[in-house]
Point group: C2
Chain length 113, copies 2
DNA sequence: TATTGACTTAGAGCAAACTCTAGGTGTTAT
DNA sequence: ATAACACCTAGAGTTTGCTCTAAGTCAATA
């Protein structure tokens, strides 16, 4: 797949995708001989994963670290698992914040009726 | 209450509190004769409200608009209500995103076991 | 009385995450 | 063959939301 196809499929700009690769968030997108990116299934799965994590507000720096550990191979499995656990508890915190805000919003909206 | 007390109570820096007032996020903090802020109950409730909304990721610009409508008085009640409804649906979206990411994280963590 | 400390302001600086610009290459359509 | 188009890069610019700096006022304390 070309970058424009991937861009449409995942609703990310081409600039964003190139940026993600440049900073090491996206590992090894294969290229055709003339240097043009040719996204295979693995590259697409990475994009989907990153998009999902970013949608939940996970920091790019953390994701870069995860990708980095992944690149280092099997001996980083434990570290990767821990990273994900940490992010999970951050997400739980975020959920809590949002729930509080939800309650408050619902209360306020009720008052306006 | 002085700004340092409010800062401690709500765990916001003094700079942030002053910034919020400067940009119109925080309405009318009363001042003593020499110009020093003297937070009353209403100012504190605003701070708490803003902090709660910001914790959930609500944009400052939106909150400024809300405060602005509030300042304009009772004839903006309908508009304020609508603004809150809009933010509520944004929060619902965010909850959905986070839930998706949660599922994915849990799945991945399970794989690492 | 002098200095310490809490407050004030305007405005500059900073970090994160893009987003845009300029200039270049390579393939395809007329 | 020349123009159009999709791609490429490096690097500058933008937005959001603070955070810091410099310079000043005022009250209290050594």
């Amino acid at each position: 797949m070309t970058i424009s196809e991937v861009s449409q499929k995942y609703n990310l700009t081409q600039d964003t995708i190139r940026y993600y690769e440049k900073i090491g968030l996206l590992p090894k997108v294969p290229r055709s001989k003339n240097g043009i990116r040719n996204f295979d299934d693995e590259a697409c799965r990475w994009i989907e994963f990153i998009k999902c994590m970013r949608n939940a507000g996970m920091e790019i720096e953390i994701l870069i670290k995860y990708v980095d550990l992944f690149k280092q191979g099997e001996n980083t499995v434990k570290e990767r698992r821990q990273l994900l656990e940490e992010q999970k508890s951050k997400l739980l915190e975020k959920q809590k914040s949002i729930n509080e805000t939800m309650d408050r919003l619902n209360y306020k909206i009720k008052l306006y009726d």
